[in-house]
Symmetry: C2
Subunit: 229 residues, 2 copies
Amino acid sequence: MGANDLWAQRTRALLKKHHVIMLNMIGSPGSGKTALLEQTVRHISGRHMVGRDSLSRRGRTGLCGPTLLKIAVLEGDIETKNDAERLARLKCRVSQLLTGGGCHLEAKMVHRAARDLPLGQLDMVVVENVGNLVCPAEFDIGEHAKAVVLSVTEGEDKPLKYPVIFREAKVIVISKIDLLPHVPFKMKKCLAYIRKLNVHAPVLQLSARTGKGVKAWIDWLEAFAGVMP
Amino acid sequence: MGANDLWAQRTRALLKKHHVIMLNMIGSPGSGKTALLEQTVRHISGRHMVGRDSLSRRGRTGLCGPTLLKIAVLEGDIETKNDAERLARLKCRVSQLLTGGGCHLEAKMVHRAARDLPLGQLDMVVVENVGNLVCPAEFDIGEHAKAVVLSVTEGEDKPLKYPVIFREAKVIVISKIDLLPHVPFKMKKCLAYIRKLNVHAPVLQLSARTGKGVKAWIDWLEAFAGVMP
């Protein structure tokens, strides 16, 4: 077992001690990972507001009121703190991990950042990996599950072309569905390609921009958090 | 100098012997590299047709008639031959390079494929690298220039987040501009970010889908081909 896997094991042991679960989010640059996390934080903190559909109104319907999920985010990037700043603005607990050129997060970096989090106060750590559909899929960072985010602008053939992450993911997000009328994306084909690789993972179609489908994502996160001892 | 760089040097020597120039195209999965190559082949072969704007009409205006550029394409992918098949359908000379999991093309693979091309009949070899904005930027494959393709759906901040390729590219393509009305992409900001990293490279805004801006890309390719001894 290599050094990376040892660090990943240490992280999982640390998280287990605090009953915290970790999700490793992987996707191409610009697939909408950060936008989805922004919406997630808004939902969870009860500050969700899309268009004219304010919290107070939706709260009454029970559709997306505040949840009890307490999360922190580890933001992986090669350079810039843009994404961490986007999330910090929402008062989300977030740490920036800069790889300084590296194409994926390594378990040791994640371990150090996780150790500095107030794990006793958290249910979940979401790690946004470097924007890259290839390399991050191959490195264990101590997560309990991988999520893959594929935007409809990337084309329906991407599961076939980048199969490793689609095989490994425990949840598959098809993002930016608000753009479906404007792009030549064949959803039915995409779903068939995904099912060739992965029979079990739920496939969630959503738009972080309009909010459509985000509730199902939050529901999945809550169920995922509930799996942890 | 590592083995990769030696193979890259050998490829450049081989290409020089035949007066062939090589372009290394890099971009995220789904950024539109293959779609742009399809349009390129259509233009070059004089079979360009977008919407109702048929060749015969455009040919008379001299806007996009057949050029004399003779190209071959090397298609880099992790798995599947989809992209090579898309180009072969257009009667483009194309070879598929499969990395079998690898996140970038290596110089040795490219050298072997280049050696098998009818170089004496070509002006240019365009290599479409694996869809990945990170790793391919760091490996010389024997090219004379790198091109980067960024789609407007990825967001204007990507040059700052993935600076290596934007610094190194000799031409920068902003693709899918037909989607600008539907995405929150700030073109002015994007151009400013690019200019922070790269003062000289032309930035071409285009849509392979509508054909807008593709002529400027073909013009750039022709000028680039003219640079070669």
